[in-house]
């Protein structure tokens, strides 16, 4: 997914000279041709993430659109204050492209893990967070962001969801106000029952314990790829149609769940059960495989 996105960006900067790519000494190999062709638009800024975010805020204030690329914790953790103040508080729009998701660099230890990026960014009112499920979807989301030059964050994962592995599920239509972009996709069985709904937040969800089992038993599956205000409103409407809801969030779910509950407001009708699956907050101080971290450390939290 990351190579596809970097390749797309390399092509886009030729068409749009307002795009400036800043690399945190990562992606230099994939972007080398673009760096040679457009040296003023692709800068390997070096290993100074806080300064790089500040620099990007200045670029935005100067009428350009910065795209920042590095490993998730070095951007979201180390440069958190710069993201909060220089970008969001100061209305300086930038695209942060983070590699590593929760535990892509699982064997490198806690310094390279970042299972709390989404919740931390939501808590500082980041308006547009995304975790695409496929390469194709990631390019679609990227194109949308570059067209609108939004304040945006793409969480690149090394995993993808192959929906063809669940032949009982067929894509169903849902109305999104943002027609250009599917903030979530819905798949349903042919039975038209509304007993069980499974919701996945990003492709790493499938590694959480029970996820595959619940997908195979559900009536409908929703894959959430963009987290913004519109998604929360639309998703709550879907949740209220079902009796049992299983939510799989492969990162710290605090802010996502808080926002969902605040929008559900009433539990008088459906759903009668909401069960959340997410990884335990911990420092995984061993060389585990990514899927093992999720499998062995899935926590179940009952919401209702």
């Amino acid at each position: 997914m990351r190579n596809k996105l970097l390749k797309t960006i390399s092509n886009k900067i030729i068409l749009d000279n307002k795009l400036i790519v800043l690399l945190g000494d990562l992606g230099v190999f994939q972007m080398r041709e673009a760096m040679n062709n457009r040296p003023s638009q692709v800068i390997n800024f070096g290993i100074m993430e806080q300064t790089m975010i500040g620099f990007s805020a200045g670029i935005a204030k100067g009428g350009y659109y910065p795209i920042i690329y590095s490993i998730t914790p070095f951007l979201v953790d180390r440069a958190y204050e710069q993201i909060k103040l220089d970008l969001i508080y100061n209305n300086s729009n930038a695209l942060i492209l983070s590699a590593g998701a929760s535990f892509d660099y699982s064997t490198l230890g806690p310094t390279h893990h970042c299972p709390h990026d989404i919740t931390n960014l939501l808590s500082i009112k980041h308006p547009f967070l995304s975790h695409p499920f496929t390469k194709l979807q990631s390019v679609k989301i990227l194109n949308y962001i570059l067209q609108h030059k939004k304040q945006a964050y793409i969480r690149i994962s090394s995993s993808e969801l192959d929906i063809s592995e669940y032949p009982n599920l067929k894509k169903s239509e849902h109305n999104s106000k943002e027609k250009e972009l599917l903030i979530f996709q819905k798949f349903s069985t042919n039975s038209y029952k509304t007993n069980k709904l499974v919701i996945l937040f990003g492709p790493d969800s499938i590694f959480l314990r029970n996820c595959n089992y619940q997908i195979n038993k559900c009536d409908s599956l929703i894959t959430v790829s963009v987290i913004n205000e519109l998604m929360f409103s639309d998703l709550v409407k879907e949740i209220k149609k079902y009796k049992e809801v299983f939510i799989f969030i492969p990162y710290d779910p605090a802010q996502v769940i808080l926002k969902l509950i605040s929008k559900i407001k009433s539990f008088e009708d459906y759903p009668s059960s909401i069960l959340l699956f997410h990884p335990k907050a911990n420092f995984y101080d061993n060389s585990y495989e990514k899927k093992d971290i999720f499998q062995f450390n899935t926590e179940e939290t009952r919401i209702i």
Binding site: T51, F55, I59, Y64, D86
Partner: protein, 264 residues
């Protein structure tokens, strides 16, 4: 290149500095807020510079107050020079239209961004200056830092890029030599790695030299030697006045002791 200098006489500038000093002290007492120590040290060089850029020349530039806690100094200058009276009048009034205690970008159209957290201004200034370079524009970016703030790592990281990229940034350091931070001799370290201009904020000719440097294209670092609570004799250089608020008795005493030091 033609030498430029302020047309306003030194005595007229001293009168402006006197008026500005009194305004800052009275406002802090009135609203029970403000960092008067840094506001007064910074005003010693910023008032003549803004006077030249705004009143005498209508110069095109951008500014960021990285030491955002000195916002009262900037707002007082904007009020005194009739550039924008709203931020000073509404400074920390605690009402819905008030301005908070750090710099807000809504206060002045030349400000690139709001500020307050130390170490943020120079990277933002650098990004903005980079876009000006891409546009082949000569608009300089003035970034005001405090000497204590120089301990922030982002500023040292920024210096690695600014001179290599030859960005049109003017870094003005309000070197008020705060007692709380002088265990680290940051001025010596800066001088070891990049070319700097070491000026006195109490010298009119040094301020004129700084204005010349602002009008040239390219990066410059200007260390302005100042004092906390500058020009308020017997109160100067005392760390408690970094963010200390004078009560009525102290204000009255301070106002009696305002004496502007500005030599040729």
């Amino acid at each position: 290149m033609k030498e430029i200098h302020l047309n306003i006489s030194i005595n007229e500038m001293k009168n402006l500095l006197y008026e500005n000093t009194c305004k800052i002290l009275k406002k802090a007492n009135e609203v029970n807020a403000g960092h008067i120590g840094g506001s007064l040290s910074m005003s010693q060089f910023l008032l003549p510079i803004i006077y030249y850029l705004e009143i005498e020349e209508n110069f095109n530039y951008r500014i960021i107050l990285s030491k955002g806690h000195a916002s009262l100094g900037l707002y007082s200058i904007l009020d005194l020079l009739n550039i924008n009276k709203r931020p000073f009048n509404n400074y920390c009034t605690k009402k819905s239209d008030s301005f908070h205690g750090h710099t807000c970008s809504k206060s002045f159209n030349k400000l690139i961004s709001s500020s307050g957290s130390l170490g943020h201004g120079l990277p933002i200034a650098m990004g903005f200056a980079y876009t000006q370079q891409l546009k082949k524009s000569n608009i300089p970016v003035i970034c005001i830092l405090g000497d204590g703030e120089l301990q922030e790592g982002t500023l040292w990281e920024s210096l690695l890029h600014i001179f290599k990229m030859k960005l049109n940034i003017k870094i003005l350091i309000d070197f008020n030599n705060s007692i709380e931070t002088n265990t680290i001799k940051v001025d010596k370290v800066v001088k070891d790695i990049v070319k700097t201009n070491d000026f006195s904020a109490h010298s009119y000719s040094d301020i004129n030299k700084a204005i010349n440097l602002i009008s040239f294209i390219g990066p410059e670092i200007i260390i302005f030697r100042t004092k906390k609570l500058a020009n308020v004799s017997s109160y100067e250089s005392k760390p408690q006045w970094h963010a200390g608020i004078p009560n009525r008795v102290e204000l009255s005493d301070m106002l009696k002791k305002v004496s502007i030091s500005l030599e040729d």
